[in-house]
């Protein structure tokens, strides 16, 4: 089996930052990502076969990431593209799947930067084609340069959807309405006061806001989609007003004709690998999710395993980048690399920038806090597990069966969470249905045990791996 000094999983801001510092310290590092290009979901690099002729509203994140990506390419860090990490062991061995076969790679130190997924929010009709995550729409638009739809309703919480809406408008789509679930819109006096000092972020938010204002796009806070209608694909969205807890105000429903509905309700850390390793996870009440505990050097409860970015708590790309740098410096130092005075000074700069980025992440987290009424948008026959077609009614019935109110219990009795997405879409929702039925606090509902492969790989590859 091949062994390297540092194996880095995930080539988004966290992984790129780690790769840069590890290589600068003179450590041998390998960077692994499931995508063919460096950059991840934030920096959204266009495919290698595309050529950007002119920079535009869609290329902002691309440009931001391009310099970093180019530096990593020049750094000599080896990149394994289109490579799925399907397992991880405590000795630092990673199970990889690439070019239709499995192989193993051991990192003497591991830096895990798998990023996040978007929060799944279920309501009647949410499985209809045309209903998609905001990130899916943004990737189609920014990376692939394909309009995700012509008449788009945006929904969610926080400032991100303002950016996506503004990019969609720029690209020629019609944005029917923007629905902000929170009682306090991101662009409000209250949030402006909270963001004081973070001028760059404020300016960015204001820019999108003005773009939307000048296009006269209707914007409603305290509003959410409560239903998606259509025979074969989305034709209309039912929207309604909600109270401060995001419970629907009866009688406020309206129907909007649309072919696309984008959901941007924030992010959940991708903790599959750290969970599989048995790293300590803590519940973050504000984010409503489990995140990987780490120390000031980004090391997890398992010595030699570091994390960077969203896997350790939702903080955004700026936080991820600096955390990646710190993880890279720390892991290299433990291997006896780097450590010169110059490096120390660089590290101080990184820590300063990290502190500042975390300050804004805290403000953003406040804007994006989820409220309990979200789960009340489901009706008995709303699909909760998209893979195995388990409804909210079936899940609720299974909760407490034979005294078992765990995610595992629901899984055994209903098959919810046993499909190919392995609970990535439903476990967040099931936790909330459990809390609703039993009154248990969310932090008392433990995530289900992780299992390898964390994403399906062909059985023949697994069999070949075992031989």
């Amino acid at each position: 089996m091949r062994e390297v000094e540092i194996a880095i999983v995930g080539a988004g801001p966290g992984g790129l930052g780690a790769a840069l510092e590890a290589s600068e310290a003179g450590a041998e590092a390998v960077l692994i990502d499931e995508y063919p290009t460096l950059g991840g979901q934030f920096y959204k690099q266009v495919p290698a076969a595309f050529r950007v002729k002119k920079l535009d509203a869609e290329s902002e994140q691309y440009v931001e990431g391009l310099e970093l990506v180019e530096r990593v390419k020049r750094s000599g860090v080896e990149f394994l593209p289109s490579t799925l990490v399907w397992s991880v062991f405590r000795d630092g061995t990673l199970g990889l799947y690439r070019e239709e076969r499995t192989e193993e790679l051991r990192g003497r130190k591991l830096i895990l930067a798998p990023g996040a997924q978007e929060v799944p929010v279920a309501f009647p009709g949410w499985t209809l084609p045309g209903v998609m995550m905001g990130g899916a729409a943004q990737s189609l638009l920014v990376t692939q340069r394909v309009l995700p739809g012509r008449r788009v309703v945006m929904a969610g919480v926080g400032p991100l959807q303002l950016k996506v809406a503004s990019q969609l408008l720029e690209a020629g789509a019609s944005v029917v309405e923007i629905l902000e679930a929170s009682s306090t819109p991101p662009v409000s006096m209250e949030n402006a006061l909270r963001s004081l000092g973070h001028w760059g972020k404020m300016r960015e938010g204001l820019k999108y806001w003005l773009k939307l204002k000048s296009s006269r796009t209707p914007y409603h806070h305290r509003h959410v989609p409560v239903g998606a209608l259509g025979k074969k694909q989305l034709e209309a969205v039912v929207v309604a007003q909600v109270n401060d807890d995001w419970q629907m105000v009866p009688g406020t429903e309206r129907t909007l004709e649309a072919d696309t509905l984008c959901l941007s309700y924030g992010f959940l850390p991708s903790v599959q690998l750290t969970r599989l390793l048995g790293c300590r996870l803590d519940y973050d009440g504000r984010a409503g999710a489990w995140m990987t505990w780490h120390d000031a050097d980004q090391q997890t409860s398992l010595p030699g395993v570091y994390v960077a970015g969203e896997v350790g708590g939702i903080g955004g790309a700026d936080v991820a980048l600096e955390e990646g740098r710190i993880a890279g410096i720390a892991a290299a130092r433990v291997l006896g690399k780097g450590g010169a005075d110059r490096k120390r000074r660089q590290e101080q700069g990184t820590r300063k920038r990290l502190a500042r980025a975390r300050e804004f992440a805290d403000v953003a987290a406040g804007m994006m806090q989820l409220k309990p009424g979200l789960i009340d948008l489901t009706t008995g026959d709303t699909i909760i597990c998209r893979c195995e077609h388990v409804t909210a009614g079936q899940v609720t019935e299974a909760i407490g069966f034979e005294g078992d109110s765990t995610l595992r219990g629901v899984k055994i009795h209903t098959r919810a969470g046993t499909g190919p997405c392995q609970g990535r879409m439903c476990s967040f929702l099931i936790s909330r249905l459990i809390a609703k039925k039993t009154g248990m606090p969310l932090e008392a509902i433990k995530p289900d045990t992780a299992q390898a492969p964390i994403k399906p790989i062909p059985l023949r590859a697994l069999v070949a791996h075992g031989q």
Partner: protein, 100 residues
């Protein structure tokens, strides 16, 4: 039949795509470009329903767009359960959706 307006959903003002490739989708030849994901090529051809999920035959298409929800599954060259959002188009690719 759903209307299928070819290429008009592609935004070509500021990028130059890879070289043109032809892929076959449910027996029909469609134009795609090197570098595109299969999901993007299907969407650009006006296809939004990639399969009907059992039981109940619920239509599905692109949802997470980043390879984690396994909703956009199609068959490529006889291989089932291929995530259209993660697969890249290749010249002569044979794709079967269950979109009809």
């Amino acid at each position: 039949m759903e209307s299928r307006k070819d290429t008009s959903l592609r935004l070509d003002g500021n990028v130059e795509r890879g070289r043109p490739v032809q892929i076959t989708v449910d027996g029909e030849t469609i134009q795609a470009y090197e570098g595109e994901s299969l999901a993007a090529a299907l969407m650009a051809s006006g296809r939004r329903v990639f399969r009907h999920a059992d039981p109940g035959g619920h239509p599905r298409g692109v949802f997470c767009g980043m390879g984690i929800c396994y909703d956009c599954l199609v068959t490529v060259a006889g291989q089932d359960h291929v995530r259209a959002c993660m697969a890249l188009v290749r010249e002569g690719m044979q794709v079967t959706t269950r979109g009809e």
